[in-house]
């Protein structure tokens, strides 16, 4: 699939360069549209056929779907290096409607947060399972979950049960899970009438193709595809997912231009499986294009690597994440506080900041290494002693502290001589991992 070009977009814009969109020219607006930093509606002069054409042109091959206020899908490429991925996989935690500790579990899901490098890793929503089989119990469970305000998936194959829940929750746009061959017509009618997204489910791709076509054809506003996460047949599962995504992106095959749902929670159907196996299933799916997942686990040891993997895969390869170079004050440093050196690669800087924050008052010199970590910048010559001397001068560090001592990362040990020459400061080689900084300062600073 060829990448979208700003020129093509420009041709579909009015060409008035009136600035009403907030951009100076139509061309600038075209670039913003492609980067998804602007919306078509921002140009008030665009109307009629041209507008429709542009909407069609800009709609990503995998359409975006909103579950509650969480957007999934919207992908343009198969592999992240071809551009970037846009909407991180949404993680939903399954709760059964007759679980006596339903509210407690829901609150746990909501409040779960792990910080990694200044971003919060969190769950995205809750999938309520109609384990009881009872419409009334299900409705009440949905009402309880609604109170914690997270995107929801309503899981039942019984249209009556779903309808009862939609009566109270449809304004929250839950995902209806789901439509299978047997209930298709009723589920489509519900999704259409209540204007909610609908999951269509089948392990047979031709059937899934048909279900999706019939659903959109009968007015369902948006679809999520569940090609069945089968723990006894993971190869079959991957084959289906890969096929769907290639149909969408390489062939723009309409029935498959929707986000894909994976259900690692279903791995518990296999006797003997538990959190470990569920995490393994989720890791496989996280590497293969799924846009949303339903899991049982809220075990931190299992969820931390998964959310980390998601964070990694969805970083934008077009821009190495970096922070502003310069000097940072952590806590309230005085003229005796230590001075640390690190690079402006976001991951590196936040690792260091996270390790000293609240534990140590200090200054951090952030060198401009063009967004490289410590080792790559040393290997590539991007961490330069002269730059560090420059930063010290520019920020008048010699007036702010009276010790002239600099702690550098263990991995930068071989720069020690150069740094001492350029800055005239004494250089202490710190530990390899920034988690050792506080200890290091306690042992080596005060003397």
């Amino acid at each position: 699939m060829a990448r979208k070009s700003p020129l093509e977009v420009y041709k579909m814009l009015p060409g008035d360069n009136c600035g009403e969109c907030g951009e100076e020219t139509c061309m600038a607006f075209a670039s913003k549209l492609i980067d998804r930093d602007a919306k078509i509606e921002d140009c008030p002069r665009l109307k009629g056929k041209k507008k429709e054409k542009l909407i069609e042109y800009l709609t990503p091959p995998v359409r975006e779907v909103k579950i509650g206020d969480r957007t999934i899908g919207g992908e343009e490429v198969i592999y992240r290096h071809e551009l970037t991925y846009f909407n991180p996989t949404a993680y939903f935690v399954a709760i059964s409607d007759n679980d006596p500790s339903l509210e407690e579990r829901a609150r746990k899901v909501k409040s779960f947060v792990m910080e990694r490098f200044k971003t919060d890793l969190k769950f995205d929503g809750i999938a309520i399972r109609n384990k009881s089989g009872d419409p009334e119990i299900f409705k009440e469970a949905v009402e309880k979950v609604m109170e914690i305000e997270m995107p929801m998936i309503l899981c039942s194959f019984n249209p009556e049960v779903i309808e009862r829940a939609l009566e109270v929750s449809s304004q929250k746009r839950p995902l209806i899970y789901g439509a299978i061959d047997e209930n298709l017509e009723e589920m489509c009618a519900l999704a259409t009438n209540y204007e909610c997204p609908l999951a269509v489910i089948s392990s047979d791709l031709r059937k899934l193709w048909e279900l999706s076509t019939i659903a959109t054809g009968s007015g369902v506003p948006s679809i999520v595809l569940d090609p069945v996460t089968d723990s006894l047949n993971m190869r079959g599962t991957l084959n289906r997912i890969v096929e769907i995504r290639h149909q969408a992106i390489e062939k723009r095959a309409d029935p498959f231009r929707w986000p894909i749902l994976g259900v690692p929670a279903a791995s518990w159907l296999v006797e003997g499986n538990g959190y470990w196996e569920e995490a393994v299933t989720a890791a496989i799916l996280q590497n293969r294009f799924v846009d949303a997942m339903i899991l049982n686990t809220i075990e931190t040891w299992a969820i931390l690597p998964l959310l980390t993997l998601r964070q990694n895969i969805y970083t934008d390869p077009r821009f190495p994440a970096r922070v502003e170079p310069g000097v940072r004050e952590i806590g309230s440093p005085n003229d005796e506080s230590p001075v640390l050196l690190t690079t402006n690669f976001a991951l590196t800087y936040y690792a260091v900041e996270g390790d000293v924050e609240g534990k140590l008052d200090c200054y951090i010199i952030v060198a401009d290494t063009e967004g490289l970590a410590v080792e790559p910048s040393i290997a590539g010559g991007k961490l330069r002693a002269s730059d560090v001397a420059e930063i010290i001068k520019e920020n008048k560090l010699e007036e702010r502290v009276k010790h002239k001592k600099l702690i550098i990362p263990g991995a930068a040990a071989r720069m020690r001589g150069d740094l001492e020459d350029s800055t005239g400061w004494e250089v202490l080689v710190g530990p390899k991992d920034s988690s050792g900084i506080v200890d290091f300062v306690e042992k080596h600073w005060k003397k």
């Binding site: 592999y79 992240r80 290096h81 399972r129 109609n130 384990k131 089989g133 194959f157 899970y177 392990s203 791709l205 031709r206 193709w209 048909e210 076509t213 054809g217 069945v228 996460t229 089968d230 006894l232 047949n233 993971m234 190869r235 079959g236 991957l238 084959n239 890969v242 096929e243 290639h246 149909q247 390489e250 095959a253 309409d254 929670a265 279903a266 518990w268 159907l269 296999v270 470990w276 995490a279 393994v280 890791a283 496989i284 590497n287 293969r288 931190t300 040891w301 299992a302 931390l304 690597p305 980390t308 993997l309 990694n312 895969i313 970083t315 390869p317 970590a373 790559p376 290997a379 988690s435």
Partner: protein, 394 residues
């Protein structure tokens, strides 16, 4: 079939709508209507009510037409080189078991793409006890002084091969002579019957000498010599591999051009195409794995598209996972580290597997077993699946 029967009368109702004032009687009239579908034309014989022929297309408009489903074809002009590890007596070695890696004709575990050879796990063994996280140490405490016993344990625990890391040769540790290292290798070869990977200490001056000595001792065994890099004497390593029939691991750091350059240089020295495995560097989950993902996927894609300079099997230092603090650090709020650590290594491995890695260097028994399991599962389509819909009510 049932659906068809239900739908066709509805079409007729739509058609009837064209005629005025018939809504009230539609139910009665329908009973007298017979419908025939031939070649996409609907013939409705209710002469007083409707025109005899109506284009089906036209009527179907509010109804739903299912577009034809044409499966996607994943075909590639080139395939990945196939490489034999180990050599039997007839072939000039002494291995009872040999393996092959590579030979892929498509992206890993994609529809229709055959995984000609199963990816393998090689177990990390060190020639002196290294500092290891508790979760790993507890499985090997009693064998860490004895590489042969350690290797046996690794094989029992599910690995296919063994890697011996000759870290004692580093001048900063015990500075053992290359000949001493070669003895360790010989002893290992004499006591286990699978192919081995021979790893240096990472010292750029010493490694070529160590690998050369070991290559000679292990002549004809088709071991992997780990590793040749651009900034050490790779020529020496390549020559040792050529003269003694081994495979070279070409290690670069997350850079496709660098990898091509190294491959080219090694091949120009006379290394055969079936003597080269690439290690593009495994950055760890949480610490740059996305760079590795992208570089490996690009290498595999370009290899399959026809770039012969990069169409070689890949190896991953999956053990690197233990460098991430999330894998080893004791922290209550991160959950049980005895599970977290092995899962960190497992997920790093799974990610690499799905990028096309053929050979995994690993360390924790549970990670090894899980990855082997995943490889088995992904290698074939199972006939019987789960009763999927039950997950909603289980």
């Amino acid at each position: 079939m049932k659906k068809e029967e239900m739908r066709i009368p509805k079409l007729v109702i739509d058609a009837l709508d064209w005629l005025e004032d018939l809504k009230d009687v539609e139910e009665i009239e329908l009973e007298n209507v017979t419908i025939d579908v031939k070649n996409g034309i609907i013939e409705i014989s209710a002469p007083t009510l409707l025109p005899a022929m109506i284009e089906r297309e036209e009527i179907m408009k509010p109804e739903i037409k299912i577009p034809e489903y044409v499966p996607f074809s994943h075909e590639w002009p080139n395939s990945i080189e196939e490489i034999q590890l180990g050599a039997t007596k007839e072939e000039g070695g002494t291995r009872k078991k040999i393996f092959r890696i590579g030979g892929e004709t498509g992206m890993p575990f994609y529809p229709g793409s055959e995984m000609k050879n199963r990816p393998l796990v090689t177990f990390d063994v060190f020639d002196m006890p290294p500092p290891l996280p508790k979760a790993i140490r507890e499985h090997f405490e009693d064998v860490m002084e004895d590489p042969v016993a350690w290797a046996r344990r690794g094989l029992e625990l599910g690995a296919n091969l063994v890697t011996i890391h000759l870290v004692s040769t580093d001048p900063r540790t015990m500075n053992r002579a290359p000949e001493e290292a070669a003895e360790t290798v010989r002893e290992l070869l004499d006591n286990i019957d699978v192919p081995i990977v021979i790893g240096g200490s990472g010292n750029p001056e010493k490694d070529p000498l160590v690998l050369e000595a070991c290559a000679r001792t292990a002549k004809g065994e088709r071991c992997i010599l780990a590793s040749a890099t651009l900034d050490i004497d790779y020529e020496r390593i390549a020559k040792a591999a050529i003269e003694n029939n081994h495979v070279v691991l070409a290690w670069t750091s997350i850079d496709i051009n660098q990898q091509k350059e190294l491959n080219r240089k090694l091949l120009n020295l006379g290394l055969r195409r079936d003597q080269l495995v690439m290690d593009p560097t495994t950055a760890v989950l949480g610490y740059g794995i996305e760079y590795t993902i992208s570089v490996m996927q690009r290498m595999r894609l370009e290899g399959l598209r026809g770039d012969k300079e990069i169409s070689f099997p890949m190896s991953s230092g999956t053990t690197n996972a233990w460098g991430a603090r999330e894998a080893w650090m004791k922290r209550e709020d991160w959950g049980d580290r005895m599970l977290r650590g092995p899962l960190w290594e497992t997920i790093t491995g799974i990610t690499m597997l799905l990028c096309g890695v053929d050979l995994f260097m690993m360390l924790h028994p549970r990670s090894v077993q899980t990855l082997q399991n995943v490889i088995d599962q992904l290698s074939k389509i199972a006939e019987k699946g789960v009763e999927y819909e039950n997950w909603v009510t289980m």
